[in-house]
Structure formats: C-alpha cells, structure tokens
Symmetry: C2
Subunit: 734 residues, 2 copies
C-alpha cells in the first residue's frame, strides 16, 4: 500500500466502543496490531532462553512475481502489484528457508495470516495454519510439497468463504519456552480475492468466456442516449492498475465494514453500493446533476474509473462529480477488482427517486398542454446500474445469478444510499419482498406514466396511462464484443403476456402500485410522431405528425407541440418551442402535419447531454379524446477523430493525432481534452482556450507503450457549451 | 408548532436537486409554500374583478377544543394542543361561515388541505376536497351536514392511507375570473394521525383494551436486570404532552422523509428507527456506553421521553445520552404519538453487534480459565427494542401483527442504524429472508455461545456450545397492568421441540449460522451454581457450587471461578476475584463448594448497572471433561421512597417527601434527583452535594396537580458511584 490508510481525520466519528464492545470493530485493512517476536508460555524468564536448538527462519518467499506460478494459476497476473494476489478456495505456494533442514516430528512450526488491527481467531481474521497430511477444500491448511536443503515449499489452501483483503503473514515456531515469530515483513503481505473459478465460492461462474469478460476485461462500453438512439462510449475500468485494489479496500474500510464480514459477496456488494457515493460514509464520488461543475470534473468528462479511485485514495476526499454511469462504472471496477463478476447495464427509460409504489404523473391543462407548474415528476431517459453475479444463500433456492445493485444515491424515503443486491429473476417475477430493495428496482423498470387533465376547479381526470414507456430497453455489453446486448427479457416478460400479468399481480400483491389503462373515450384518432434518424447537433430538422381517423365522421384535432431541452433525468431545463396546430382529418383518412425546428431554436439552451424532448398532445373536438405522444431526440455529437502513423511498437514512441470539428456556429471556450490508454498513456489533460465556430482542432501527443497486445486509447473533450464528446482508438502493440 | 423547523443550519446538506428533480423533495412539516389569495384564469386583468356576487368566507372553525366532538370521537383529546388532531379514515366536522347563506347549485367552493413546501396533487400532499352527496370510506370528501343562516357544517372524510402530519387548510371559492382563497390561518391547521380504530388502516387493532394500552397509555414499565432477577422501573412515555407531537414530526423531517411516503406505517417505522439514534441523520439521541456522561445526562438518569424529545426539538441537536432502553422508550413515545400501536420489549440475554450469522465465542485456556486476551465477544445481559403493530402489505399474507424494530444503533457490516420492521412471526419460524433485517433480530434471540479451549500451539477445540443462553426470556408489560408478560413464545418455539428444529433449519437455510452441540467427552460430572436471591448492593454473599458425579468412578475437578463487574453489554470492566478450587466427588455423590464474596471485593469497581458476572469453569482430571457455568447477579438497589400527606386535590398544593438511604459505606457526591409526573409536576431537577455513607436523604417538594384521576410520580437519583436508583408513586387527584 503506497500510503497508510490508518487513523484518518476525515473518517466519520463513531460512538466509543468502551463499555459496549471488548475491542473496537476490526474494520480496516490499513491498520494493524503488532505481534510479539516471542510469546512466552507463562512468566517471562530473567535470562533469554537458549533457542539454538530450534528452527530459525532465514527467509520467506511468497512467489509474488507475475511470472511465478501463483499469479498465473490464480489469474491475478494482470494486477500491477509487487505483492502476492491470490483467489480464495485455491492453493498457492510459498517457500520458507530455515537455518537448517526441517526435521519432521521434531520441529513444529506454522504459518499465521492476520488482517486488521483487532484480528480474532474465531472470526477468521487471525488464522494460524498448520501442516496437514492432505489439504482439504474448504479449510485453511498447509502441506509440504518439496524440501530441498534448508528450504521447504508449502502449498497453502484457503477456504472459499474467507474474507477478502490484505493479509500479513508470520511464521511461528514452537519452542518449550514459547512461540517464536518472524518479524513483520510487508514483502510477504498478500491479497486474497473472491474466486469465480472456484466452484465452492459464492461468486462461481461457469464459463471461461463470461469470466474473461466480467472479471478480466478492464475496458468496456457504457450506453446512454435514448432507446431509439442508443449512444455508446468507451470506458476504462482499469481494475488491475497500480493502486486500484488498495483504493477499493480503502473504500470498504472507510465504510467501517467489519473485516470478518468481507467473505460474503452479498454484504460486500451492499456496502460497496453505499460507499461508491459520498452520502452517508464519505464515499468515493459526489453526485451532481446541476450542470455547474467548475469546482470539479464534469461527469461527462471522465474516461476512466482509475483517475477517480486513485484521487479518492490519495486525497481521502470524495471526488467531484458523478452521475449514474460514473457511479456504475466505478462500482464495476471495484467489483471486478475484488473478484466479483459484474457488468454495467443501462435502462431506457428509468423511473427514479420514487418509493417503489409510485407512478410518474404528468399534468395537462384542459387544452392538453403540459402544465409545467403542476407536473413535478420526471422519468430519466436512461439510468445505469450494475449487476453482480453470485449465489444467494439468504434467499430460497433459485434466485442466484445476476443481482441488481445501484450505487447512484436515491432520494427516497429517508434517503437510500445503498440499493441491492436484488435478484434479477425475482424482479422479473414480481417477487419484490426478497431483500434487498427489490421494489425499488422493480419500479425502475416497470413504473407507469399517467397523463392527467387538470380542470379549472382543480379536479384531475386520467387522460392516458402509458405502461410501456419505462424499462422499454435494457442493455449491457455483449461478452467478448464491443456490441450491445439486449437483456430486457431478463428483467421483464413480454408486455401483455400471461407471465407478465402474473408477475405484475405478484408485485401488486406485495405493495407495488400499478395503474390500470384508462379507455374512457373511444380512441378513434391515432397519432404517430416521426423524426429523421441521427440528427447532428447544431442542425435543423422536421417533426412529422401523422393523424389517422378510424371513425366514420370527420375529426378536428387541436394539437399542442412543446419542445424542451431536458436533463437526462427528464427534468426540463427550458422550453424552446410551443406551437398550436389545428388538423382536420376526413373519415378513414390520414392527415400529416410538420413542424420545423431550426438550430437557433435550441442550440443556446442545450444542457450537458444534448437531448431534446417533445411532448405532443391533441384534443379531438368531436369526442373530447386526448392524444398523447412523447419524442426524445438524442442529438448526434461528432466524435473525436484519433489516428497514429507508422508502427506501434512496445517501448517506442508513437505519435497520436486527435482532431475535432466544432459542429456549432459558436466558439467553444476553455476546452479540456482527456486522453488515456491502459499500457499506452497515463491520464493526460490538455487545455485549449478556444475552438472557433465550425473550426477544427488538431493536436498531437507522443507516447511510449509499455504493454503488448491490443490496447485502446480513450479520449473525451469537455467545455461548458458542449459535453459528451468522446473518441476511442484500438492499437496493437507489437 | 412553537418554533419553525424550517431552513435548518444543522440539517445534513443534500445534493442539489437541480437537473435531477423538477422540485426538491417535499420533506418537512415545518416548511410551506404560499398559496395565492386569488388565482386568475388566464391573464391577470388590469382592474380587480367585481366579486361582490360571490361567497366570501367570514370564518372557519375546525372545532379543535378538547370538549368539541372531533377530538372525543378521534380519541385525541389527551393531546395538549390547541389545534385539531384527527385520525385518518374517520370523518370530522368543520364549520364555515360566509357573508351570506350558501346557495346550492349557484355557489361553488371547496376545502384544500396542504402539507409541506412542495405539495403535489398527485402525491396526496395537496388535497382539494369537493362536496359530495355521500362520503365514501377510502376517499377524501366533504358533505354538508347542516346549514344555519350563513354557516355550513361540513363532515370531512380522509382516506385510511393518507400521510400523517400537520396540514394547513384553505377554503377556495370558484368565480368566473378565477379561484379566491381564504388567507393562511394557523388556527385551522390540523394534525392527521394513524388510526388503529379504523379497520381500513394498516395499523388497525382489534380490541379496545389493546388500543388503550398500546396507543393511549402514556406511562409504563421497562424491564432490565437479569433473566433470573428481573428489575423494572416506571417510565413516562408522555406522547400527549405539549410539543411532543411536533418533536416527532420534526424528527421525521430531519430524516428528510418525503411527506408523500408518510402514509405507510412500515416506512414510517423504518425511518423512525433510524432517526431515534443520532448516527446517520442527526437523530434524537446520542448512544454512549462508556460510563462517562459528564457532558450530558447518564442514560440511567432519565425518567421520561418528554424531556428528551423537547430538548431535541428546542436545540435541534442530538441529546446526550441513551442506551438501549432509552432508545426503545423514546421510540415508543414517537410511535404511540403518531398513532402506531407499540410496546417496549426486553430480551434476556441478547446477542448484539453481530452480523446475523455469527456466534458468540468465549475462549478458555487449557485449565478452563477464561482467556481475557482472546475473548472479544460479549452478550448483552438484556437488550430492549420495540414492537409495532401493523399489517404487512409488502409480505405474503400472514405476517402482519407485531413487528420488531430496534432503534439502538448497531455496529454491524458497514453500520446499521435502522433495523426492522421484521415480522415477529417470521422470526419465530426462521423465515429470515423477509424484510427488514430479520436475520439480525433472529440472531438477537437465537445465537449460540461457543466455549473454546485454546491450546498452547494456538489451536482451538470446542469445549461447549450453549444454545439456551441467548433469548431465554422476553418480556413486555402486560395490558392494563403494571406486571410483566412473558412473550418468549412469540419469538421462539420451545427449545428442542420439532417446530423449533424446523425453524432453525429454515434460518440456517437462509444464511443464519447455528452451531451443533458438541458432546466430545462423556459429561458425567454436572455443575449447578446457586446464589441467594435479592442481594442488596454493598452486602456480601455466598456462591454455592454443587458438583454431581454420575459415574461409577471418583472424579477430581479443578474449578476456576472468576468474578467481574460487567457493563450490561457483557463487556467486563474489571475482574475482582479469581479463585481456583479442587473438588473431589465420589461416585454417584454430590459435593458442594462455596465461595464468599465480600462487599469490599466489588463495591469500588461497580459500573452503572451494578451487575456482577461469574464464570465458573472446571476440568475433570480423569476424563478431561470441561464444565462451564455462568452466573450473572443484578444487585438490588434501594428504591427512592416517596409519599405525600393529606388529600391530593386538583389545583391544590401537595407536599411530596422523597427519601433515600445510601446503601454504601461511602459518601455519594454530586447527586442529581429528577422528579416528574404527567399532570402533577413538570420535570424537576435537584442537586445534592453529598449523601453520607449509609446516610438518608430526605427532601420535600410542593406541586399543584393540573389533571384529574390516577396519576403517577416518577423519580430517579443519579451520581457517579450509584446509578439506576428509581422510585414511583401513584396518586389519585380528586
């Protein structure tokens, strides 16, 4: 560990343990007790005992090198660490050299592993390991593999339930006077992680391809935008980078999680979901959705979890700022780093900040226009959370597998700053009473949107209930590819199927509120809204409305179209268009109407994620039918164009050229470019005072790759006027 | 409300809502928006409209008096408040006087109830109530009862699921120009509470006697001491005292609980369990078990929840100090005050600060003596928590009824500062996967204690497993009496019954760890420990050990007896006796041994609850059997003797004499006496610099009763050397 994470002035004070516990809780990898070099049986004698007869340890080698057998066999050779890193439930080798050959029967010694300041033998945080004839799966034990002169090679077995974290190690030798121990040596410290390769471990995962992706892949894609216009960007998870593992353990220490509980992946996930956000226990990231990030980094500007985790570890302060995908990406790094298979998922659209039994209400006035004063709810265009893979010994059989966990702080009853793990299968079946927080995640993918008409005397009547807006698409990255995978069916049965109805009934039975569809008026006019695909930011476009009259009479529709620039949380920032149209539709005919949107209508109002939201409502004069349609447009933002010239060789300079063309008829000011690539380029930040309107920025960087193989460069560009500008480039280092 | 609980400098800052929510959460009874006196339809006209034709409200009377019909019918006449207090799901009467008689068909008006600063019609925090022909159970509505000249009497119905809290009220009159409203008038503010008398309410309770106890009783008894030596003391819950209801609402506001969620008793209980303790959200009480309470009030010195709640409300700061029974007593006040039936329970002995899957480990050395260095666990002699009564719509049917909630902050994985509600029935059946926190409460009543023998080489072997030490007795106060009721069977099946085994299997299946009994050695010697009953503090006593040899051979037992002064958490403060005995027992004979304890052995070491703990371990030489027995002695502390002379009449002076005899051969210094009686005496604190050794303090107080009927005086005496001195006295005020 590069810095001690010991007595921390920033740690939230806790109640004194005096009178309440015999010792304080054992909660920190970074604190330790000192073990006596010699532990006398009975009273300490006046003169030192003669120990020349007994073994003396000359050296201990835990074989921590990346080319040694341990890290290869434990799939931990990617971690940038000089210490041994192993996975639990699987044996590893250490070598002990004595002053003379070990004599079986005469010499007695054992190995001790300790973790934390108050290690305890019965809690599994102080572990004496004795020599056995045969190692047993599920039990700590040591076995002599080979002896060569004064050196013994031992195979050490850890059980598949032991705590994860950083252990220190001693060799203890029995003498008639007492126990003699080796001195504290941080070179022999070792990290023990969860083990998805071990069938006894709660995080066991079957196929190699899955483990390759969900444990070993240190880059990936995140999805945002809108269901009909999915946008993706590269993200560096970087779980193997130097210092990242220590940062992850520090975060759990900061949450004051008892070390003895850190063998249970369910508890580790739950505590980690709390500590990713800074509310409650001074966790890793501060959430902000305000659009003003001057005293930190805009959530859209990050490329990597590594910067965030290392900054947190270095400063001991929450890092500014995150939004849902940043929370999810950092959580993903923490989980993969500790050895829990995990992935980031994106839900389009996502109900949020509700209490699991609430619906999203939109209030229209009597003309069908959205009432901005009375509508207080919003739906998030998308929301990212994580899934982690584990068995659930705390639930009835069958609910293991993917578990949803959400690290974005929730503003619900009393504040919920931890969420999950909740069995995805239980959510699909509406079995929301299983812990943890299943009703909340169920609502995120299943809530209804109710459109209300508010009359002059203040009374409300239901105009429409949309049951298919929330959770219409759930995506994650497909194993072994850079493509997305649609996993909606893992959360939901097909809308309207009999299974779907059963799941809904189950959820309703356990307190989730669902609304019935209202068909108050005959719906004989239908409305379809269409917009061209891939609209570039700064360009104009046309919204086409198509009205179809299915009745035998003429219909007159008064249409209200309002367009606003929204945050991705669905919170409107400003309205930029309000238009009223009158449309006449002959019986059984289709009538079209078009509304033109010009760049100047919206450009100056854009907020960070460049989404435009249109609400089209209509009122049919003849039968008072209310039509409601919503259209969200995720504007296309040009990519950063990145290229290198010539060969890309290990240890040789590579010249990278990055280009960006400003799509706006306005200058971009105080532009920040961030570049990063694992094994290629440490995080690099460049400032540009201006990029002229429609101008092109070209910038060069030289780097020297220090790792072989296929490697990715990731870049982002950020300024107040334009965010979410990203780029990526694959290189193969030979 | 006597003080505004508005913008609070102490409130934990929350993330800005900007960009994330359209408005901030609606979380505070103490904040409000202003409603327009006149809400124009369309644009505001240049000259004020002529409104002489339309109704004008002259006055609104919500009939808030204790002698009016509303408070009587709603069983809220005990609350000391000038405002109306009603229970939901039950109609109440208000009277509106206009400038002229109301004309049906021509005049249109309605009543509006609002709560909080961001009231919202679809969230049930802004409620316009219209006139109906007939009131419907389960729906807001108003009905004209009588008209007399210009005055209308209205019956108002609230639904049995509406939020509880303090609502403000307007009368709105419809005119062609817009809506005219009455001005803000805090006299018409009303509190809506949970309603155990309403069968549609989730907190409905069947019998009148239960409601009388669990809602309306504002005094009660708490139990402490030890299972074989139960001690009780009177406690003033005082849920009806002036300011207490506002304090309870303020605590929920401080927890930032959305007002819209406050209709659900499950959520209210869960949030309240968090806010009773000061960890997490600057809640009501600071926990401390250190024995040093100089900067606050010792937990043992409180008599009443009222002082604590009012101090919290006045200072906006957590109150120092509480321990489990104080947390539980204050929680009880909050629950009864809000209308949720509740009681305080005491569990002897209680596993605590564990993670639901842990056991309590006691380490003995090879001679059977407790190893103080290696034993880190403790069991609480007792622990108090609450039960609240409600249906559980979030669980499968059958789990309604009593729900366990624990407000004492837990030091478990990552800190658990809220606990429950967990269905008591589910705990009994080992169905620990039902929310909330059932494994934790299951462990509190079911954990095992393991005695380990630690050998010289550090290895441990199990010496004994005691499955009957934890949760052996669970008490609460019996309805309508001052006696205790044994409710152990509500939490547990009889030890060893087939139901008990099934429940254990279920709990184990869902992750709770239970230990199997070890019968490694033939147990042919048994040990019984006896002590005389009711040992007065400061006196000596004898511990009798009885060894029975069931074998055909002679047995030699080496006995270790160690006595320590313990905190009630089982944490040893100091050892005062360590004695080794050797006992020979002939075949099939009984052998006695006695150990004398003198006052000077323990008196100077006592901590606040005056419990002595003896661990007696023995090792049988012939068969290496280990004997383990534990004995806890709760020393008797003399009561405060209270008496009055002459008649006790309403409004007339009464002379109270309080006496106390110091049982110790030491002077008591800086003694604090606290006296309180609902309707008799506001909390009174008296200081005495010294009470001489074995001396008697006699002190007089004069008070004037302001309430009729049977009333109780409660007193406590506290100083560093002696705590838990209490007294009580029933008076009937005529």
């Amino acid at each position: 560990m590069s810095e001690p994470s010991g007595a921390d002035s920033n740690t939230r004070p806790s109640t004194s343990h005096v009178g309440r516990r015999i010792t304080p809780s054992n909660i920190s990898n970074g604190e330790e007790n000192s073990m006596p070099d010699f532990e006398f049986f009975g009273a300490v004698p006046r003169s030192p005992p003669n120990l020349t007869d007994f073994l003396t340890v000359w050296s201990v080698d835990v074989l921590p090198g990346t080319d040694d057998i341990n890290k290869k066999q434990h799939r931990t050779n990617l971690y940038e660490s000089d210490n041994l890193i192993v996975r639990r439930g699987q044996s590893f080798e250490i070598r002990i050299s004595f002053n003379r050959p070990y004599v079986q029967g005469k010499d007695k010694f054992w190995v001790e592993f300790l973790i934390g300041r108050y290690p305890n033998i019965t809690k599994g945080t102080y572990i004496p390991i004795y020599l056995e004839e045969q190692l047993e799966q599920g039990k700590w034990g040591a076995k002599i593999m080979t002896t060569w002169q004064n050196t013994l090679s031992l195979s050490i077995m850890s059980p598949a339930y032991c705590p994860v974290g950083r252990f220190r190690m001693y060799v203890a030798i029995m003498t008639p006077y007492g126990i003699r121990r080796t001195a504290r040596d941080s070179d022999t410290d070792l990290y023990i992680l969860f083990n998805p390769w071990c069938s006894d471990d709660a995080v066991y995962m079957d196929t190699e391809a899955e483990k390759e992706e969900y444990i070993l892949n240190d880059i990936g894609h995140l999805y945002y935008g809108e269901a009909s216009e999915v946008v993706s960007r590269a993200w560096i998870f970087g779980q193997f980078e130097s210092g990242v593992l220590d940062s992850c353990l520090y975060a759990l220490d900061r949450a004051r999680m008892p070390l003895q509980a850190r063998g249970c992946p369910i508890k580790v996930c739950r505590v980690a979901s709390a500590v990713i956000n800074s509310l409650d226990e001074d966790g890793i990231l501060v959430g902000s959705w305000t659009g003003a990030y001057g005293d930190g980094v805009a959530p859209t500007a990050w490329n990597s979890s590594v910067d965030i985790l290392l900054q947190y570890f270095r400063t001991r302060q929450p890092v500014r700022y995150g939004q849902c995908w940043v929370f999810a990406a950092v959580f993903n790094t923490v989980l993969r780093c500790l050895g829990i298979p995990s992935r980031v998922i994106t839900n389009y659209s996502s109900a949020h900040d509700n209490d699991g039994d609430l619906v999203t209400d939109v209030i229209l006035d009597e003309n069908g226009k959205k009432d901005l004063e009375f509508t207080k709810d919003s739906i998030w265009n998308y929301h990212c959370w994580n899934e982690c893979w584990m068995s659930r010994a705390d639930l009835p059989p069958g609910y293991g597998g993917w578990q949803a966990v959400d690290a974005t702080p929730q503003e619900t009853s009393g504040g919920m700053f931890r969420c999950g793990p909740a069995s995805v299968l239980a959510i699909k079946h509406g079995q929301v009473f299983f812990p943890f927080d299943a009703p909340y995640i169920y609502a995120e993918v299943n809530s209804d949107v109710i459109y209300w008409t508010r009359h002059k005397d203040g009374t409300l009547t239901k105009a429409d209930v949309k049951t298919d807006q929330v959770g219409k698409l759930i995506l994650t990255q497909k194993i072994g590819t850079e493509l997305e995978e649609n996993i909606t069916e893992q959360y939901k049965f097909p809308e309207g199927s009999s299974n779907d109805k059963r799941a809904q009934e189950s959820a309703i039975q356990y307190g989730v509120k669902k609304e019935k569809k209202v068909i108050a008026k005959p719906m004989d006019v239908s409305l379809r809204v269409q917009v061209e695909e891939k609209i570039l930011i700064g360009t104009g476009f046309v919204i086409s409305l198509e009205f179809k009259n299915n009745s035998d009479e003429k219909r007159t529709v008064t249409v209200q179209l309002s367009g606003s620039v929204d945050f991705y949380t669905g919170v409107p920032n400003s309205n930029f268009i309000d238009q009223t149209l009158k449309v006449f539709v002959e019986p059984h005919q289709v009538q079209q109407a078009q509304v033109k949107i010009k760049p100047k209508d919206y450009v100056n109002r854009l907020v960070e994620q460049s989404t435009l939201s249109f609400l089209i409502t209509g009122r049919v004069k003849e039968n008072e039918q209310i039509l409601v349609a919503k259209k969200i447009i995720a504007l296309q933002i040009p990519m950063l164009r990145m290229k290198v010239e010539g060969p890309t060789q290990f240890g040789r300079e590579v010249n990278l050229v990055t280009e960006f063309t400003n799509p706006l008829k306005q200058n971009l000011e105080n532009v920040v470019l961030r570049l990063e690539g694992l094994g290629l380029l440490k995080p690099k930040i460049k400032f540009f005072s201006i990029i002229l309107q429609n101008g092109t920025l070209t910038t060069s960087d030289v780097f020297v790759p220090w790792k072989h193989g296929p490697r990715k460069l990731v870049a982002s560009l950020d300024c107040n006027l334009l965010r979410q500008v990203v780029g990526e480039l694959w290189l193969t280092i030979i």
